[in-house]
């Protein structure tokens, strides 16, 4: 059973709709009890870093999520802000992230101090740079919808599985063992998005690839 975290941020409904259409067993996760029933978890997130971490704190989910990811080693997929909270910290806020992927989140800036429109809003090309089961079977000409003002910078390039170009090359999909993140919105990404979410649901716990 795939869990879709439903804690007041991000579009859990759109993710659930896709799993329902694909016939994938899933449930909304609102508390620790719901979490225990799942074998993998999708974490949507929209808004601001501190706000999202704050909502997880209020829902009493910080420790259970640590247990889930660090001890039980279950796969987790963070989307948008959900990806940013996988890291240590963000320029945007003062709270810490989970730190599962070493790195920090910074404001989008152009190269050489050129101006660039922020937020990064719209469809941009996504280029896989490393093999990952998350990105299997996606079309060669791949684009996804982005809607964000901050982006994650991994300490190690090995964690980056796909990039997009906006001002600079930005890591837009990351993976470290059982922890996955995408900066774009697969739940609003037509067929490639559905395929990506399905790939995640079909991961075997023991072999996240």
């Amino acid at each position: 059973m795939i869990g879709v975290l439903d804690y007041g941020s991000g579009n859990a409904g759109a993710i659930a709709t896709i799993y329902a259409a694909e016939g994938i067993e899933h449930r909304r996760v609102r508390n620790v009890e719901d979490l225990a029933e799942t074998k993998a978890l999708v974490v949507p997130g929209v808004g601001a870093f501190d706000d999202v971490m704050g909502k997880l704190e209020s829902a009493g989910l910080i420790s259970p999520l640590r247990e889930y990811v660090e001890a039980e080693r279950k796969p987790v997929l963070g989307i948008c802000l959900g990806m940013q909270i996988l890291f240590d910290r963000s320029e945007e806020g003062s709270k810490s992230g989970f730190g599962w992927i070493p790195g920090r989140v910074e404001r989008i800036r152009a190269e050489h101090g050129d101006s660039i429109r922020v937020p990064h809003m719209g469809w941009n090309a996504v280029t896989p740079v490393r093999r990952s089961k998350l990105l299997e079977g996606l079309p060669e000409k791949l684009e996804f919808y982005f809607l964000h003002s901050y982006h994650a910078v991994c300490d190690s390039p090995d964690a980056v599985i796909a990039v997009t170009h906006y001002g600079n090359d930005l890591a837009c999909a990351v993976q470290l063992e059982n922890v996955f993140g995408v900066q774009f919105h697969p739940e609003k990404g037509h067929q490639p998005g559905e395929r990506l979410l399905t790939n995640f649901a079909r991961l075997e716990c023991s072999d996240p690839g």
Binding site: G47, A48, S115, R117, P119, M121, S149
Partner: protein
Amino acid sequence: MLRPRLIPVLLLHEGELVKTTRFGDPKYVGDPVNAVRIFNEKQVDELVLLDIDATMIAGSPDFDLIAEVAEECRMPLCYGGGIRDVGTACSIVGLGVEKVAMSAAAIQDPSLVTRVAERVGRQSVVVVLDVKKDRASGRQEVWTHNGTAQTGWEVTDLASRLVEAGAGEVVINSIDRDGTRDGYDVELVRSVCEALDVPVTAVGGAGSLEDVRGLVEACGLVGAAAGSLFVFKGPRRAVLINYPNPEKKRGVLVIQPRE
């Protein structure tokens, strides 16, 4: 690289989709949920849904209808109409809407933009400015309430003000061009693009994909939104929900750089 967005704008009037001309004369187009289903199949970039009643009648948004549309909508969705307080904005985002658009309420009180952005993030806050050119001065001025109330603000001044307040995107709606299919007011849009460093979207006047291309050539990275173009077909304005396929869309939006 990020490419321009091609965005259908759907107008809601008494729970149904309509299309206006110069903000008047609404013509029935169809059922909103059905239109969304058709747009899903066409892999549309993004959809804007505006409730034209909610502004005029000072009513609240039709949450049930918004929820239905959001549930059906497989692409990013922006809703506007009757959002006058933070609670309403948050509720709408909670229904599965990516962005909320405000117009008169934001113009009257820019702190509303700030307060909404604090809750949902500025990437989800859109301000829509309806613009009419003053015949005497040539000034592009912002109007509200479906083009009936003058604000006196010049468009780039007001847009800058609202971006400073927290708006993540500005939509420029040309009242003069609305429904005419005479083409975008490219000069107007370009002046706003040059003045701001947030995404800008144009609506009003698109009659063909050539108009969209012209807008992109003049303005670069811009949102090209349209109402009539995607809901009518032919000189007699027969209702037909339409949108170019991905190949054709790329051909219009992606301008190959000159060496």
